[in-house]
Amino acid sequence: MIAAIDIRGVTKVYNPASNQPVKALDNVSLTINDNEFFTLLGPSGCGKTTLLRLIAGFEQVSGGAIMLFDEEIVNLEPNQRPINTVFQHYALFPHMTVADNVAFGLERLRKPRSEIDATVERVLTLVKMKELGDRRPNQLSGGQQQRVALARALAPSPKVLLLDEPLSALDLKLRQAMREELKQLQKETGITFVFVTHDQEEALAMSDRIAVMSNGEVQQIGGPTDIYEHPVNRFVADFIGDTNFLDGEIVSFDDDLVTCRIGVQSMFEAENSGGHSIGDKVTLFLRPEKITLSPPDQASNVKTRPGKVANIVYLGNQTAYTLDMGDGIELTAQARPREDGKLPFAMGDSLAVGFSARALRVLAQ
């Protein structure tokens, strides 16, 4: 696999000379492959946007190297890097038409006029904006401006396209539609996309691989299912999706399973990921959708525990139940509504709560 961008031990400190230096990135290393949809995911202030700006060249690294197809680029000006950016608020030039906006990069690259015109038409067609080439940006809706910003960044055929939370200003329906279009666009153009977002759903839906960041460090890099199913630590598990955390201590283990004591006396079995010993303080995590709920008399042969409905949050397509498992343990589980639309369980119902040991995982502390 060819590395499009190789981040090698990059550190970024803002205001290094002042008495309050801010470390935005701390020795970050990661490799983004060619023709990949790569996402930098994390809460605001985690350093994801800083990393993007370093790749684009709007900021200078404090240490480390950034390679673009094996070429060092940290000393290049933004206009010398074959990388384009889709800005969060689009940053379309208000004094130019849509077509002039898209042509801007090609004109600066001194392409012949005929080629510029052909490319502008091609990319505007690609983003379904061909008819609106004569409009000004302020005559366009948010979604249309988004498409123009994409077209403008794609027109010069950059080696890497950077996208800085481009969907955050759109409403939900449009955002969902644009997700698929972006993914499609990436496949069609074959350009490496580096996408920055704080929206885990967006990241899971679009990415080939995701880097989860926090406090200026990369926590985990992997495909969407890796990140969701095998988070390496509590931060990742907590940031991606809803999770039950159970803090406890290992009392025994064999090759397959570890047994943990949670609360005073409750025993939970979890998959053995190796490297544990008796007495270790660990956190188990369990995704709510891995838990099955049933009335006590209808419990299947899966091992179940008794629980009581302590809280109900109606979410439309499903309902989140908080279950009191006794011994100070609470679990959140999900259940779909019945066919007649009624909720399957009510407050205070006693239920059989089932989950397999394979659904529980041990997290590093």
Binding site: N79, H89, L109
Partner: protein
């Protein structure tokens, strides 16, 4: 969005609530504008005496137009205003760019204060200072002296709208240009300047009007042969009032109104 604003509006007391305020306002505007209306009115007087109405006519406009001294004064005013505006606007643009885009440097706050200070310094002080400076250094360039003096006091007027425009400008636009392969110069040329243009035009118009109107500094600095229109009008008054003064003043007034209106339109257009 609608609720808070309508709520706010409710809180404001309607002006009509105060009895007599309307009449007071009308009186205020009459006080302010009646003299100007009278001045315009009598500029169309066909009589020789200023305050005796002798029928409608353009006689005094024609007379003023054919007066060589007035023509000279108008030319001087236009030359001074045009040259001073060009220099003041260029200097103000560069200054605004440095202060808004130059990052943090030592003396930034002081620079900002110094560039706008002339707005607060009494004009007579500036006039005396410039006069003393010219004679001390030995500069005696006639109209050139007037132009240099005008440049100094026009800079802050040109500076303010340009800076306001720059402050409101999204820096990500310039980043986008750099990202799209524009060099620093191309970014300035194709993005910064076009977006800054409404501010630059507004600043130029403002300093043009200020320069055209200036009296005190011009009177002090200008020697023989560099009489501008306001200074000439003043000297006419000393020789006796004729409707010619009214005619010239009226023309000056409408030129100023035209430029200020254009300034308003341009700066309004820039805010959308």
């Amino acid at each position: 969005m609608q609720n808070p604003s309508s709520h706010k509006r409710k809180k404001v007391l309607p002006v009509g609530h105060y009895r007599g305020l309307g009449a007071w306002t009308v009186f205020f505007f009459i006080f302010l504008y009646l003299p100007i209306v009278v001045l315009i009115f009598y500029s169309f007087n066909a009589n020789r005496m200023v305050m005796n109405w002798g029928g409608f006519g353009f006689d005094w406009y024609l007379k003023a137009f054919n007066n060589d001294d007035i023509q000279n004064a108008v030319w001087n005013s236009l030359i001074v205003a045009t040259v001073a505006t060009a220099f003041a606007t260029s200097i103000a643009t560069v200054g605004a760019l440095v202060l808004a885009r130059g990052g943090n440097f030592r003396g930034k706050t002081i620079s900002l204060g110094l560039i706008t200070l002339p707005l607060m310094v009494p004009e007579i002080v500036t006039a005396v200072a410039v006069l003393i400076f010219f004679s001390a250094v030995g500069i005696n360039w006639g109209l050139g002296n007037v132009i240099i003096a005008h440049i100094t006091f026009c800079i802050p007027f040109a500076f303010m709208p340009i800076r306001a425009r720059l402050e409101g400008m999204d820096t990500s636009l310039e980043q986008a240009a750099r990202d799209l392969y524009a060099s620093e110069w191309e970014t300035f040329r194709f993005v910064t300047v076009p977006l800054l243009m409404p501010g630059i035009v507004a600043g130029a118009m403002l300093s043009f009007v200020i320069s055209m109107d200036d009296f005190i500094i011009t009177l002090m600095v200008g020697g023989a042969g560099s009489t501008t229109l306001p200074v000439y009008i003043y000297s006419m008054i000393r020789r006796g009032l004729t409707p010619e003064i009214n005619a010239v003043s009226t023309v000056l007034l409408f030129v100023s109104i035209a430029i200020v209106t254009a300034y308003w339109v341009v700066s309004k257009k820039g805010t959308d």
